[in-house]
């Protein structure tokens, strides 16, 4: 206390007034659109949804406080565990495969050769296409009757598969399509990282007698570990929040029965939440799902941040 007082006294009064009069006021004024947005649409809605998660709220009537009811119900709901597992399974397949592929592509497209711009553009095309378009393209490949995939398999004498309807295939196939759609984006981030590596490093490695593989493994990988870390975090969050793809490809139709794939095999957390809120009028329950999803993501991200000390280099 005493220390604080002395510190305050030590500060010249003029400086304080200046902060409030000019810079401070201007600063606040300039960021006020953001601040308002943040308070209303981020803090406000989060607080509201936290409150809803402790209430029975059907959207049409005011929420009724029910304490931990929704959370209790959630932890007893087999569909919650099913959707949690589906989400985790999607993430486990998606994040490592996509990160690795994006890095590989970035290294390949970081050469100084003719026509590279064209290839970079081609990889970026699916990124800017909407999921509806992607769904049509994917259907041409994975359609049970007319898709290339089964046509190819039948040439090899393998029986046709039900890809997006089959419980076993649905998540891997969705992951494959998701990777194809967005790998270009992560590749661009890696490209930026790669271009930040000074060519001196590679020259020095060459002088030391390193071959191409050693250069990649000993120079490139450690030098862009910061970028890799960012890509992994982004992909994990994306994977947990994936909704649009699954909604479009395995059940956006109004026929209630078709959402979430066969035996709910592609029912992910976001789809589960959406269905509770907008099809079943259970906004309170959906808010509880949202908060559990948030806590899971927070935990995963914190763990990743802890682990980064072991492998990420910044300099």
């Amino acid at each position: 206390m005493l220390e604080l007082q002395t510190e305050q006294q030590a500060k010249p009064a003029v400086k304080k007034r200046k902060w409030l009069d000019s810079e401070g006021r201007w600063g606040l004024l300039l960021v006020s659109p953001y601040l308002i947005h943040f308070l209303v649409f981020v803090v406000g809605t989060s607080v509201a949804s936290l409150y809803f998660s402790f209430s029975d709220y059907d959207i049409l009537n005011p929420p009724k406080w029910t304490g931990l009811d929704n959370y209790e119900k959630l932890f007893e709901d087999p569909l919650f565990y099913r959707s949690l597992w589906n989400t985790a399974y999607f993430t486990i397949l998606y994040v490592p495969a996509k990160t690795f592929l994006a890095l590989l592509l970035a290294v390949a497209l970081n050469q100084k050769l003719k026509g590279l711009k064209f290839f970079r553009m081609v990889h970026f095309l699916p990124v800017i296409s909407s999921w509806t378009v992607i769904a049509y393209v994917a259907d041409a490949v994975f359609n049970q009757r007319i898709g290339f995939a089964n046509a190819f398999l039948s040439k090899l004498g393998i029986a046709p598969q039900n890809w997006l309807i089959d419980e076993f295939w649905v998540i891997p196939v969705l992951v494959l399509i998701a990777i194809w759609k967005s790998v270009g984006y992560m590749m661009i981030i890696f490209l930026a990282g790669l271009q930040g590596i000074s060519s001196d490093m590679y020259e020095a490695a060459s002088i030391d007698g390193a071959n191409a593989w050693q250069k990649f493994w000993r120079v490139t990988v450690p030098m862009i570990s910061g970028t890799t870390f960012l890509v992994i975090i982004l992909n994990t969050i994306y994977s947990f929040q994936n909704f649009e793809q699954i909604f479009v490809m395995t059940g956006g139709s109004t026929e209630a029965g078709s959402t979430g794939g066969a035996n709910n095999a592609s029912l992910v957390l976001m789809l589960f939440m959406f269905r509770q809120a907008f099809s079943f009028f259970k906004m309170g329950y959906a808010s509880a799902i949202a908060w559990v999803l948030f806590l899971i993501l927070l935990a995963i991200t914190l763990i990743q941040f802890k682990l980064q000390k072991k492998w990420v280099h910044y300099d």
């Binding site: 959207i59 007319i146 139709s253 959402t259 066969a262 035996n263 079943f280």
Partner: protein, 443 residues
């Protein structure tokens, strides 16, 4: 000092935010003299939107004291928007609700009980489908805007090619299956009767059913079973009648006479199988005629087949006008004027019939040459009107979407041979009862 300033700045931001929000949601409820602005919602696609606008213009001409402001969007978006609008308190005064959703809004207290108005001012003799929005307590929640009723659609070309006579009004579900055997063809053109028939490469199916109004529900009912009891709060899945019906369906799936959910999915949408001519018969509702005419199919309709005891059932969905419970008195009055206009004006009814979206609710128009016009397909439109005699709702209640989800998910498992009939019945019975109890026990 510093802290106080900061707080006042925060307060100002809060105030500004509040102003911003209230500014966004404030409705211009201009009422000069007796003029009422009625806010109306309906789901639409481009042709229905155009037609509705024309009808509204005509209404405004004959009712100069009412000005209609509209909110419209495609089906799914419309209901999402509507739900949030109701929550925010700025929903339309009057909206057109899908028949399956009326009780969902009614039992959650979002729409007005209009029993008085319906019994006093709407004539049951002149209007189709009024009873379908009456709940088990005898209260009316909506007035039909357009009627959807199910029938058996069949592709004449496929019947002709197979040399099978067209479905008749006397058909039972077993007759339908017998015809399906002849109408199901594999890649080599062999039908399901042929010992060489290859179940793995079916390219044409006899009959398809899926979803709620086009699905198994109708077959259960015809067999004397069903899903919910008359109070709509108890599952009656566990019955011998249902078991027989389910076995009938599974047998057809296993013999590949009917496409299973995976087979249907391969057509991109459940509807495409019949539309593309790969399925000879399908249960569908009147609204389907628009897309079938668009696809240039040579088809007609027959009444739904009978069950083993001669019982018949067809699904009906009465899309209805409902009034917001929170609407001001004056607007409720205007809304009723609109509903009266809609149900009694020949002009409005004929205009709406032209888009081919629904069976007219006004009986005189439905029975007129205008609707029954034999020059347009299906020729046998009278089937839809006759069907209304024995049609019923698909057990729509406040948790309809939720129990249908359990029902159709489990059916899909059954049809994909994940488990047998008995397990389906137990699992579905428990699942549906849980959904019902969750809602109705709280009431």
């Amino acid at each position: 000092m510093k802290k106080r300033r900061f707080l006042s700045v925060l307060g100002m931001i809060g105030l500004a935010a509040a102003l911003l929000i209230s500014g966004c949601s404030s409705q211009s409820s201009t009422q000069q003299g007796d003029k009422v602005e009625l806010y109306m919602g309906y789901s639409s696609d481009p042709p229905t939107k155009k037609k509705m606008e024309e009808i509204i213009a005509k209404f405004e001409q004959s009712h100069p004291h009412i000005k209609i402001k509209t909110m419209t969007a495609p089906y799914d978006d419309f209901y999402q928007k509507l739900t949030t609008q109701i929550a925010a308190g700025n929903a339309p005064d009057l909206w057109q609700s899908d028949g399956t959703k009326v009780f969902g809004y009614a039992q959650r207290g979002a729409i007005l009980d209009i029993t008085d108005y319906v019994t006093k001012e709407i004539s049951k003799e002149e209007l189709n489908g009024l009873e379908f929005n009456k709940d088990s307590d005898g209260k009316y929640w909506g007035v039909p805007q357009g009627i959807q009723v199910g029938a058996l659609f069949y592709n004449k070309d496929l019947f002709d090619k197979a040399g099978v006579p067209y479905p008749t009004a006397d058909w039972t579900w077993d007759d339908l299956k017998a015809a399906s055997v002849k109408l199901t063809l594999d890649a080599n053109g062999k039908n399901a009767d042929d010992p060489a028939f290859d179940k793995k490469s079916v390219k044409q199916y006899g009959f398809a059913f899926f979803g709620s109004s086009r699905g198994a529900f109708n077959i259960l009912k015809a067999y004397g079973g069903g899903v919910l009891d008359p109070t709509l709060t108890k599952s009656i899945i566990n019955s011998p009648e249902n078991k027989k019906a389910v076995e009938w369906m599974v047998d057809g799936m296993q013999r590949k006479l009917f496409p299973n959910p995976a087979d249907l999915k391969a057509f991109q949408s459940n509807f495409k199988a019949f539309l593309s001519g790969a399925v000879a018969m399908q249960i569908d509702i009147y609204a389907a005629t628009t897309s079938m005419n668009g696809a240039g199919l040579n088809y007609d309709v027959a009444p739904m087949p009978k069950g083993p005891d001669g019982k018949r059932f067809a699904p009906v969905i009465a899309n209805s006008w409902v009034i917001n419970k929170k609407a001001e008195e004056q607007k409720v009055k205007a809304a009723k004027e609109w509903i009266t206009y809609w149900t009694t004006s020949d002009e409005a009814q004929k205009e709406w019939t032209e888009v081919g979206e629904a069976i007219p609710v006004k009986k005189s128009v439905a029975n007129s040459e205008m609707f029954l016009n034999p020059a347009t397909k299906p020729e046998n439109k009278k089937v839809f009107l006759d069907t209304l005699e024995f049609a019923g709702t698909i057990d729509t209640n406040a948790v309809f979407t939720e129990w249908v989800k359990v029902f159709t998910d489990n059916l899909a498992e059954l049809f994909m041979d994940k488990y047998g009939t008995d397990e389906f019945i137990t699992k579905t019975d428990q699942g549906i009862q849980k959904v019902l109890d969750d809602f109705f026990k709280k009431q």
